[in-house]
């Protein structure tokens, strides 16, 4: 005797967290049942496989129906079809939008396009995340991206509002959107030591310090884009390395300030000009989309790797960056101190975050 039709509908929608997890992970009903069996639910509850199958199918159906609503979380709250208690709604949304960092790391800076979606098979193989789950997460990224692409105001807050995500998750999504928007290169071999969390932190710093929203909340441009005028202005900073006098003065100010405070003073003296050139030029190149892509590569190649090979400690780097940023204040004839500090605040934060093995 086979059951053709088998449904269970509660006035309050039953959500089994374990089954939800299995569903999110992209398991088929059969796989989910197998996994639940391994979990020992049969012994615990003294039930039969058929019951477990029926239960799993029911939950899967519910989740499939809920999925449409989960694509626009505020609708989940307003809809009348499923009576779900608020904290369960929050859980559904949060779990649905949670992502595997390994996957996000892979996709960072990539265009969220169909082409990328086709490559998910490889990503899935590399990260060990199920292909269906990969697709769902990719679609989440894309959906969030599309939704906030054109919106003004702080990215993370917009995401939080539109998708009702917890603040931390919303910030991570903001980072993903930011990377996707600016198309930073993150896949190079020399960047492999950086985790998603590193990049997310960098993205936050960059947006926090550089975006227009950071200065004027009512800014005209969406937060995900770095303001054009600001990037244009960064060219002015080249004077710091182009003008020999300024460069020398800058060096002597920083070096004298750090004397005795860092262990790598000699190396600093030797490399200051190269470092300074690298730090300033990274900013100067940002007006060109192609160069924007290389932002992190440049930082790693030209700043982090030299420092690392000279065995700078993170504390050394911190002190250096502090003084390096502050020194131009005392440089005669340098009139871009505000711009410089805004620029360096983000760069410093990124470097410090990225400076690890």
């Amino acid at each position: 005797m086979s059951s053709d039709l088998d449904v269970f509908v509660g006035n309050t929608t039953l959500i089994d967290e374990e089954v939800y997890r299995l569903w999110l992970d992209g398991h088929s009903v059969a796989e989910a049942v197998a996994r639940r069996l391994r979990g020992g639910v049969l012994e615990r509850e003294g039930t039969s496989v058929a019951v477990l199958q029926s239960d799993t199918r029911d939950h899967y159906r519910t989740f499939q129906m809920l999925e449409r609503l989960l694509h626009a979380p505020p609708r989940l709250l307003q809809q009348l079809l499923f009576q779900i208690p608020p904290e369960r709604q929050a859980l559904l949304i949060q779990r649905y939008y949670a992502f595997d960092e390994a996957l996000a790391r892979e996709l960072l800076g990539k265009k969220l396009s169909k082409g990328t979606k086709k490559e998910l098979d490889e990503v899935s193989a590399r990260t060990g995340v199920g292909i269906r789950s990969c697709r769902r997460q990719f679609d989440n990224f894309k959906r969030v991206f599309k939704a906030v692409e054109e919106l003004r105001g702080p990215l993370a807050e917009n995401i939080q509002q539109l998708f009702l995500l917890p603040p931390a998750l919303a910030r991570d999504y903001a980072a993903i959107v930011f990377f996707a928007n600016s198309r930073f290169e993150t896949g190079k071999r020399r960047l492999q030591f950086l985790s998603f969390a590193d990049f997310a932190a960098c993205a936050q710093s960059l947006m926090g310090h550089w975006s227009q929203g950071a200065l004027a909340p009512e800014a005209a441009e969406p937060d995900g884009d770095l303001p054009k005028s600001f990037l244009q202005d960064l060219k002015e900073l080249k004077v710091l390395v182009a003008d020999k006098d300024l460069l020398d003065q800058h060096k002597s100010l920083v070096c004298s300030a750090l004397r005795g405070k860092i262990s790598v003073h000699n190396e600093l003296e030797a490399n200051f000009k190269a470092l300074s050139r690298a730090l300033v030029n990274v900013g100067g190149k940002l007006t060109h989309a192609r160069d924007v892509r290389d932002f992190f590569v440049d930082l790693v190649e030209k700043v982090i790797e030299p420092c690392r090979s000279d065995k700078w400690s993170p504390g050394d780097l911190r002190l250096f960056l502090t003084h390096y940023t502050a020194a131009p204040r005392n440089l005669p004839g340098f009139r871009h101190q505000a711009l410089w500090e805004r620029y360096m605040a983000a760069i410093s934060a990124c470097l410090l975050r990225m400076y690890h093995d």
Binding site: M1, D4, L5, Q64, L80, L81, Q83
Partner: protein, 1238 residues
């Protein structure tokens, strides 16, 4: 009722053919014979005849409304098209309906190009339609319309639903409908209910399901002259709840009301061939909405006529008869209710053991002699009478009956089956053409019937006894002429009297409301129920004929062109057959009740099962004797009005008036009342209502184990809920009997005959199974018994559900003894003893599981009257429990009161096996099909209502009854298992009101739908409560009727407990050392607040969901919400939906389709309740779930009908927050509240 039925009815078709059918006076009983001979099927109006009337006609004002108004209004011209024009000519305009369309949200994209929608709304009531402006290019339109005002009469207000259609404007082509909302405005028509309907409603489309939501505000201004027009019954309140609603007091319970209306089913009209499925579905939804509106109004009129103001236990059903039409019928109990003004002052009594409990000791019987001088005395000389109609029908067909019985009533004694010997191995069925035949399963047991009297009357009577027996199922056994010894004269006199009554008056008059002393209620105020006789039921197999109605205008659509046929219908008496069918069955029930010495039937319900053209009508209830005192404070007027002598002299308690009312006047019975009051509340209802010396049948009676004063049967079956005052030992459990029987495929009469032939066997076996399973659980009574017989093309299915309990008043059930037929075989013997051991083990296990440890009552209690000597009881028993072969069986190896199962072939073996396959629910779960689980009374507020549906294919190639039975049994067991698993996070909990519905949609397909509610309870207190079951029940009995159910205070929703849990718990634990259990139990209730449960959610949600606009609406099939108090009833919810798909696979197959649909139905119910301002639906029931699929065409269709009562409830903990109003009226409540707060 009488007047209603004689009001002529008119139909006016605007096109000029005026169809006026003169009032027809038809003789009710004529219909009987016609029911047998099948009228030729008349197809709908030929399409040719309406050639020009293509589908367009629907949108035009083709047909005018039919005026269903008696008197002057009936003559009024019908020119109602085009809005209120026609109405203005009328003299009355009792109301103004005002509607405002505020906004929409989440509309579907209707314009693919822009991904947007240009939505506007049509608001329609009656013939008037208003439109909003088009709100362009938005999925969230803000119409913010003006108030649309409809001037309507009250009748229309009651019948018509408000119809709101959301459309997408299209400049170039026809506007596309997005979906509709039907709003029943009935709740706005009673003063105390809702005053406004306002909220978001799901926009529903029968093809696409819910498509966005619309915000609507509806108000009604009623004018004051309503009462002058009695066509309407505005103001009569309707309740689905089968008890007196919680915030009301019953002043008078008037009794049974019923009505039915008939129409052609739009789905089967000729027009259906050319219109879209959507149009057809909508026509059907609308028609049913109209029909239920009308039905409700008509019932309301009857209630007003009875001077009542409410209908309680209102049960409305649809019979989809297919080709032959559509029947909407309803039954209910008319009452006069008084709103309790000080509801909020009542603080719920807490469960902590209170002092009152000890006031009534266990065995106390203040007045040993009361009973004999009580109502039983008059009963003695009453016997019962056959209603003439019944006699006629029987007489006329007696030869048929005999013929039909011959083959079956003469099975050889060495019949092949197991002999299970339930106490009453008889059956009753109402046979279609055969009129009525009843048989005893084992032929020889008929003998005693014939032995005593030979007159035809007597013969019939004895036959009827056998029916009662089974139905009475009170463990009394059967097989003798029993009451025959009674005063024959009386019988004759009564017969003639009622015959005169019947002939004398107008035939319609005959059906006075007093005719059926039935009550659809299942729970009664304490003391109302004096004695319960047992279950009475009747079934009848009928062939459906087309409901012939030439006046039918086969066009459905924008106008009120539907045709309703009912009592006053004009053209033919065909529709009357439906009424006559039911009247016949009710008569049957009534006479069964009388045979049990009862004057009333409680817990009464009716149902049908239809397959093609065969229909089984079933009715069942519990014969009972009610307490006349209940109506003591009923007005004299009310009493006089009721004096309709439905049974002259029958219930003349102390009064010589002869035509005594069902509720005798208080002064006459005052002496009696005093006595009655003294009778022990915990067991009184178990005492037999019939006279011991003059029993309708031999039964095994003992003295009540509680009071030792009165006789009780050994087993009691009822359809009602466990009376609150009942003394129960241990816990109850759900008991189901499941049965499949193959039937040959046949046509028409042959089919009906074969069904009729099978029915008695099914009834017998269902009963036997129930009895065995009851014994297996060591219990002695069944409550909430519901036997459903479903007819399919090639099989019949029987499913009986009930809640078994151990009533302290009844004797301990004996075990089950297996007897082999061939005792010489050694291995066989061994096998038998093995089985016996298994059975004994199961019984022992069950006793432990359900905590059945009845207090030891040695029979030689000093001073107590010793029950009958053993010898006699044994004798009776063997007679009653077995067919007579048993007397020949050697019982010496069994216990005296053991049940004997005789195994003589494999079938029987399997039956025994199947007995043992019922698995008890997993630990932490209990289940019952009554409102409350006997033995548990400490509910926590978490509830989860659910509906589960399964359709399974019985795939055996050569099915036999045994394999089918096994399949069916497995299906039910697996379904239950599945429920337990799904709800495992709620443990400890109880599934209450488990309601199974079986349908056989196709060959080999079985559909089971279950609706139930899981309620968590507090384990600690459960144990506590269990230690003192008697105390508990006494306490419960002592409370007022609106406070019958008590629940522990729940702290979960207490605002104070929103602080972190652990400190609160510590506090409570600290407190528990002082107050004992209650605090501990609170602690646990805090601990195990599961996120699944609604109660928990609710309190948790407050801070976190400020942006959620959806209010939580609880749903439950029960009449109450644990831990909460219902403060207001907002009106009845009665909704009918059709959903259809032509893309079944895409919607997730049948399961996906139905899952979504059920969820949608829930959503629409919740939305309507929320719009009324309510936060819960109680007494929710899914009355119909008809699912059809055609996988080859990728199509499916489903119809669902649900109902319930919309209410506002307040958490008891919130109530407690309110300042306690000093109320002298309820000192015990305040005191118990005091207990709680300590």
């Amino acid at each position: 009722m009488g007047t209603m039925r004689t009001v002529p009815d008119f139909s006016v078709v605007r096109s000029g053919h005026e169809v006026q059918i003169p009032e027809q006076v038809s003789v009710p009983w004529q219909g009987l014979h016609r029911a047998v001979s099948r009228a030729p099927t008349i197809p709908g109006p030929a399409p040719a005849g309406r050639g020009g009337a293509a589908p367009r006609m629907r949108s035009g004002a083709a047909a005018a409304p039919r005026h269903r108004r008696g008197g002057a209004a009936a003559a009024a011209p019908a020119g109602a098209a085009g809005g209120g024009g026609g109405r203005r000519g009328r003299k009355k305009m009792p109301g103004k309906l005002k509607v405002k369309i505020v906004a929409g949200r989440h509309l579907p994209v209707m314009d693919r190009a822009s991904d947007l929608t240009d939505a506007f709304v049509e608001v329609k009531f009656g013939n008037t339609t208003f439109k909003t402006d088009v709100y362009p290019k938005s999925l969230n339109p803000q119409w913010n319309s003006e108030w649309f005002k409809f001037e309507v009469d009250d009748e229309e207000l009651q019948d018509e639903p408000l119809q709101i259609t959301v459309l997408d404007h299209d400049t170039y082509s026809a506007n596309d409908a997005i979906g509709k909302v039907y709003i029943d405005i009935d709740p706005l028509l009673y003063s105390e209910a809702a005053t406004v309907i306002s909220g978001w409603f799901p926009i529903y489309d029968t093809i696409h399901g819910i498509r966005g939501e619309i915000n609507v505000v509806v108000k009604v201004d009623l004018f004051n002259d309503l009462n002058r027009f009695r066509q309407s019954s505005c103001g009569v309140k309707f309740f689905c709840t089968t008890s007196i609603p919680k915030c009301y007091r019953a002043v008078v319970i008037h009794g049974f009301v019923e009505e039915l209306v008939v129409n052609e089913d739009p789905e089967y009209q000729w027009i259906d061939r050319i219109r879209t499925p959507r149009a057809s579905n909508e026509a059907r939804q609308r028609l049913i909405s109209l029909m239920s509106g009308e039905l409700q109004r008509k019932i309301g009129l009857k209630v007003l006529e009875m001077r009542g103001n409410a209908v309680v236990g209102y049960l409305q059903c649809f019979d989809l008869e297919g080709e032959s039409g559509l029947v909407v019928r309803a039954i209910g109990t008319a009452c006069t209710l008084d709103k309790l003004s000080n509801t909020s002052a009542f603080l719920p009594a807490c469960n902590s053991p209170s002092k009152e409990m000890k006031e009534i000791p266990f065995n106390e019987d203040p007045n040993p002699n009361t009973y004999s001088s009580g109502p039983s005395t008059p009963l003695k000389n009453q016997t019962y009478s056959f209603s003439p109609s019944k006699s006629y029908s029987r007489q006329s067909s007696s030869s048929d009956t005999d013929l039909s019985l011959t083959p079956k009533t003469a099975p050889s004694p060495q019949g092949p089956r197991i002999f299970l010997f339930p106490s009453s191995p008889t059956l009753s069925c109402d046979f279609p053409h055969l009129k009525k035949s009843c048989l005893l399963l084992s032929g020889s047991s008929i003998k005693p019937l014939h032995s005593s009297h030979v007159s035809p009357v007597v013969l019939r009577k004895s036959v009827s006894f056998t029916e009662e027996l089974l139905l009475a199922a009170s463990g009394m056994g059967s097989g003798s002429a029993g009451k025959e010894g009674g005063p024959f004269k009386t019988l004759l006199r009564q017969q003639t009297q009622s015959a005169l009554e019947q002939r004398g008056g107008s035939p319609r008059r005959f059906c006075t409301r007093r005719e059926f002393p039935f009550f659809t209620l299942t729970t009664f105020p304490p003391g109302f129920l004096l004695h319960v006789g047992g279950v009475v039921s009747a079934r009848s197999v009928k062939l459906l004929d087309r409901i012939h109605n030439p006046a039918f205008v086969g066009i459905m659509g924008n106008t009120r062109s539907y045709k309703l046929l009912d009592w006053n219908s004009f053209n033919s008496d065909e529709p009357e057959t439906r009424d006559a069918w039911w009247a016949e069955i009710r008569q049957e029930i009534k006479s069964h009740a009388k045979a049990l010495g009862c004057h009333a039937v409680v817990g009464y319900s009716e149902s049908t099962s239809i397959c093609e053209e065969v229909c089984i009508l079933s009715a069942s209830g519990t014969a009972a004797v009610l307490n006349p005192r209940f109506l003591q404070d009923g007005t004299m007027e009310g009493c006089l009005e009721q004096r309709l002598s439905w049974q002259p002299g029958f219930f003349s308690i102390g009064s010589e008036k002869g035509e005594v009312d069902f509720f005798p006047q208080s002064q006459d019975s005052s002496s009696l009342l005093g006595i009655e009051e003294a009778s022990p509340p915990g067991c009184g209802f178990c005492h037999i209502p019939y006279d011991e010396l003059n029993m309708p049948f031999p039964a095994h009676l003992t003295y009540c184990y509680n009071c030792r004063k009165q006789k009780v049967p050994d087993v009691l079956f009822t359809t009602i809920d466990l009376p609150v005052e009942a003394i129960v030992v241990g816990k109850g459990c759900l008991i189901q009997a499941r049965l499949c029987r193959l039937k040959k495929k046949a046509q028409a009469e042959a089919n009906a005959t074969s069904i009729s032939n099978l029915l008695p066997f099914m009834e017998y076996e269902v009963h036997t199974q129930l009895m065995n399973k009851l014994k297996l659980r060591g219990m002695n009574a069944l409550f909430g018994l519901r036997i459903q017989i479903t007819v399919g093309e090639n099989m019949l299915m029987g499913l009986a559900s009930a809640t078994g309990v151990y009533l302290a008043a009844l004797p301990t059930p004996g075990g089950i003894q297996i007897a082999g037929k061939t005792p010489n075989d050694g291995t066989y013997e061994q096998h038998i003893s093995h089985m016996q051991k298994k059975i004994n083990d199961t019984i022992a296990k069950n006793k432990e599981l359900y905590e059945i440890n009845p207090p030891e009552l040695p029979e030689e209690i000093i001073g107590s009257p010793i029950p009958e000597p053993r010898q006699r009881s044994r004798l009776l028993r063997s007679q009653s429990e077995s067919s007579d072969e048993v007397t020949e069986l050697d019982l010496s190896h069994g216990k005296k009161d053991a049940f004997v199962l005789e195994i003589d072939d494999t079938d029987a073996m399997e039956d025994v096996h199947s007995l043992l396959t019922d698995v008890p629910p997993p630990s932490g779960f209990y289940s019952c099909n009554t409102e409350i689980m006997p033995g548990i009374n400490n509910w926590t507020p978490e509830i989860q209502m659910f509906t589960a549906v399964r359709v399974s294919r019985l795939s055996n190639i050569n099915p036999t009854n045994q394999t089918l039975n096994k399949n069916f049994n497995d299906l039910c067991e697996n379904l239950l298992k599945s429920l337990y698993f799904k709800l495992r996070s709620m443990v400890p909990c109880c599934l209450c009101h488990v309601n199974f519905t079986v349908a056989l949609p196709e060959d080999e397909l079985v559909q089971i739908a279950v609706t139930a509610v899981a309620i968590t309870y507090d384990k600690n207190q459960a144990l506590q409560a269990n230690k003192a079951p008697t105390e508990k029940s006494q306490q419960r009995a002592s409370t007022d009727n609106e406070e019958q159910l008590q629940f522990p205070l729940e702290l979960c929703s207490d605002p104070l407990s929103s602080q972190p849990f652990s400190p609160a718990k510590e506090v409570l634990e600290g407190a528990s050392s002082h107050t004992g259990i209650p605090a501990a139990q609170r602690a646990t209730s805090l601990e195990k607040a599961s996120p699944l449960a609604e109660g928990y959610l609710r309190h948790r949600s407050v801070p976190s969901c400020t942006n959620s606009t959806v209010s939580v609406v609880k749903m439950t099939p029960l009449s109450f919400l644990p831990g909460a108090k219902i403060t207001k009833y907002l009106g009845i919810i009665n909704m009918f939906f059709i959903r259809e798909t032509t893309s079944l696979r895409e919607e997730g197959g049948v399961s996906g389709f139905l899952h979504a649909f059920i969820a949608e139905v829930f959503a629409m119910v919740r939305a309507h309740v929320a719009a009324l301002g309510g936060n819960a639906v109680v007494s929710y029931i899914m009355k119909q779930c008809v699912f059809m699929e055609n996988p080859n065409k990728n199509q499916a269709q489903c119809l669902i009908n649900v109902s319930g009562d919309a209410v506002i409830f307040v958490r008891e903990s919130e109530l407690e927050m309110l300042p306690v109003q000093p109320s002298a009226a309820a000192p015990q409540h305040t005191s118990s509240a005091g207990d709680v707060t300590t």
